[in-house]
Amino acid sequence: MIVVTGGSGSGKSAYAEKQILQFGEMPRYYIATMENRDAESQKRVDRHRAMRADKKFVTVECPYDLQEIQLEKTGAVLLECMSNLVANELFVKDGMVHMEQTVEKIVQGIQRLKAQCRHLVVVTNEVFSDGLQYDEWTGEYIRCLGMVNQHLSELADQVVEVVYTIPVMQKG
């Protein structure tokens, strides 16, 4: 399992995809966690879809409930992006789910997914260093993603920070 992290516009998606291709010929799954709400996210989805064109990925939409995923075949799985999954799980219609509960649910989802594939690459996001004070909800979100990332890192063989397309190894 590889965790790919980085700031916005750092080239982490392209790097993660390259890793999947390097595993060679096998079934490829792309687990998309972004909910498609507006033109801007549509643009982002289109950009990522274009990047995956001809690479034989089966796209699985999964904005929440990762633990429910049942893959047909064993292969290489790219999950993108943890920052969306955490937001979708944490913020629900009637308010906010308890943070610890969200962390536990997501970590279990990842473990189940990991058991179903040969290679798992998880893309996450570094959102932790702007030093700004946010409202309570955003603060909880940042904490939650930070906790999830720590768990991911523990489960992973390799953690790579992508800095403007350059991989910087943080673990492994």
């Binding site: 980085g6 260093s129 403007y164």
Partner: protein, 131 residues
């Protein structure tokens, strides 16, 4: 091309001066220099602010970078890493952050060295270490 990156106030400019033998006057300030001067300078600091100014003028940062690559291939770019926070709600701020990342990706690909500075310490993340 060379790229020097890092958080704010980490000594990036000093590092650039030491590593590449630059004088203070060799480095343009991307926040208030004339944009056309960047095509003939040795180095430009606050590159992320230069990208912002280009976007504020509704010009394409990609076109600007293409032009820079051709006109001034040996330029030394010094930029803050601004992509490590919560994605801003405001559209322009969000686009600026993303675009700065994308342009720095292009710059990193063009550069012989990418040097990341933390608390005054340079770490070479691309290319042979030059010190």
């Amino acid at each position: 091309m060379e790229l020097i990156i890092g958080g704010a106030y980490q000594g990036k400019k000093n590092t650039a001066q030491k590593l590449f033998g630059l004088r203070n006057t060799d480095i343009l300030d991307g926040e208030n220099c004339k944009i056309e001067d960047v095509f003939s300078c040795r180095a430009v600091s606050e590159f992320h602010m230069l990208i912002r100014r280009i976007m504020e003028q509704q010009e394409s940062p990609e076109d600007f970078f293409e032009h820079l690559k051709t006109e001034n291939p040996g330029v030394i770019l010094i930029s803050n890493e601004i992509g490590y926070g919560i994605v801003p709600l405001e559209r322009f701020e969000r686009d600026w952050r993303e675009k700065t990342g994308r342009i720095c990706c292009l710059a990193a690909q063009e550069s012989d060295h990418v040097i990341r500075v933390l608390a005054g310490n340079p770490v070479c993340i691309k290319g042979e270490q030059i010190w």
